[in-house]
Amino acid sequence: MSEVLIKIDNILKKYDDNVVLDGLSLDIHEGEVVVVVGPSGCGKSTLLRCINALEPIQGGMITFRGEKIDGRSKTITALRQKIGMVFQSYELFPHKTILDNIILAPMKVQKRSRADARKEAEELLDRVGLLDKKDSFPRQLSGGQKQRVAIVRALCMHPDVLLFDEVTAALDPEMVREVLDVILSLAKQWKTMVIVTHEMSFARAVADRIIFIDQGKIVEEGTPSEFFDHPKTERAQAFLQTFTFDKVEKEA
């Protein structure tokens, strides 16, 4: 198997006395697409936020290519450039145009020239079909369009891994597809990704490995076909059951 990119080693995350992640360990390899699923409040979004140190952890360690991820360290901004993140609520900067949203960090953080950043931003926007929106403001775009811009914005920093935090959860069903197609095309290019989602058929299509979390622990992991077709644990079986419906038998 390829090199380990992110090593999550026995991490503990709690808010006061409320334990959210409880001794969780996970290796993410280069080029791998890991999809994290689980019931609401199981800690899957928190896990993503710990990976780029938006949340401090109270125990254990997360390393990126062997380097410790710590929100208070001097190297954190350098590490975060390598770890792109896309949020459920897009979080574009409302006061900047689409183009300026994308090139802000490449220019300010990576000190790239405006022309260079702009050229790449336009190429990426073109690839997701939004080049004509480059001078618009975020509020003029639909949810699906905003989310595609958010993905482009993350990509423009040339991250080694992308974290997707329920990126389609706030979208209308018809817009879900356009966003997921972008992620699928990234998977084809061997991008390393960690994806938290409730879209099970998408998870099955995109994942190399499924991680099922409940109550802050990994309950089950495996390939998509192992997990979806033959879940081993009762907890996973019960979880997957919630996505299938039996035909209603009307009472006589």
Binding site: E91, R153, A154
Partner: protein, 219 residues
């Protein structure tokens, strides 16, 4: 209403209006700077300083400007710091305004969701870059209405400067009334001069407000 009287008083009023404007705008300029700094200290809870700033804000928002000016103008010389009346006016206005501006700007900062900061941090931006490029522009544009209201309020407050014998509009009007008893003319001119100063501020303010809120964010 005697037009000759008005004409003969006009130069005095103009001079007084210039003084009001000078002290007013200097005081407001400093109050904005002070307000920004205090708001950032409060919002980001910078240790120790944020307590001091908290006390300052409550103290100056909850006491009248007149009393603050008395302390500065009559109190400071007693402990050996003598300052002239104009400087005292600017300082008083800056301190009072700073407290109001700080609160307005802080509510602007608080209106920005914390996840905007996270979004900027996740792109590898430093805290300072995040504040400068992402948070401040949004916070400023959402506090513009409150800023304009504060500016109008502060310019009006300059009318108490007459109490520390600054020859502003109010002082001039009171003085002339005392000397020549042309009360109607003097008061009418006073109102008109304040309107000349304040109306443009309100009008420009509401234009800026519209521009920032809509054009800037793309509507």
């Amino acid at each position: 209403m005697n037009w000759e009287v008005i004409q003969s008083y006009l130069p005095l009023y103009e001079k007084a209006a210039l003084l009001t404007l000078k002290i007013g705008w200097l005081g407001i300029a400093f109050s904005i700077i002070l307000g920004f700094v205090c708001a950032i200290i409060r919002h980001y809870k910078i240790p120790v300083l944020h307590r001091i700033v908290g006390i300052y804000i409550e103290l100056f928002r909850n006491t009248p400007l007149l009393i603050q000016l008395f302390f500065l103008y009559f109190g400071l010389p007693k402990i050996g710091i003598a300052i002239d009346a104009e400087f005292c006016g600017v300082l008083g206005l800056a301190l009072l305004g700073g407290a109001y501006m700080a609160e307005s700007f802080r509510s602007g900062l608080e209106s920005i969701e914390p996840i905007q900061t996270e979004s900027a941090l996740s792109l590898g931006m430093s805290r300072t870059q995040t504040i400068w490029h992402v948070i401040l522009p949004q916070a400023i544009s959402s506090s513009v209405p409150a800023f304009v209201a504060n500016i109008v309020f502060l310019l009006k407050e300059t009318s108490v400067f007459s109490a520390i014998s600054l020859m502003d509009l109010m002082f001039t009007a009171k003085d002339l009334i005392g000397l020549y008893s042309k009360t109607i003319e003097c008061l009418a001119m006073l109102v008109i001069f304040y309107l000349i100063i304040l109306l443009p501020v309100s009008i420009v303010g509401s234009i800026v407000e519209k521009k920032l809120r809509f054009a800037g964010f793309g509507e």
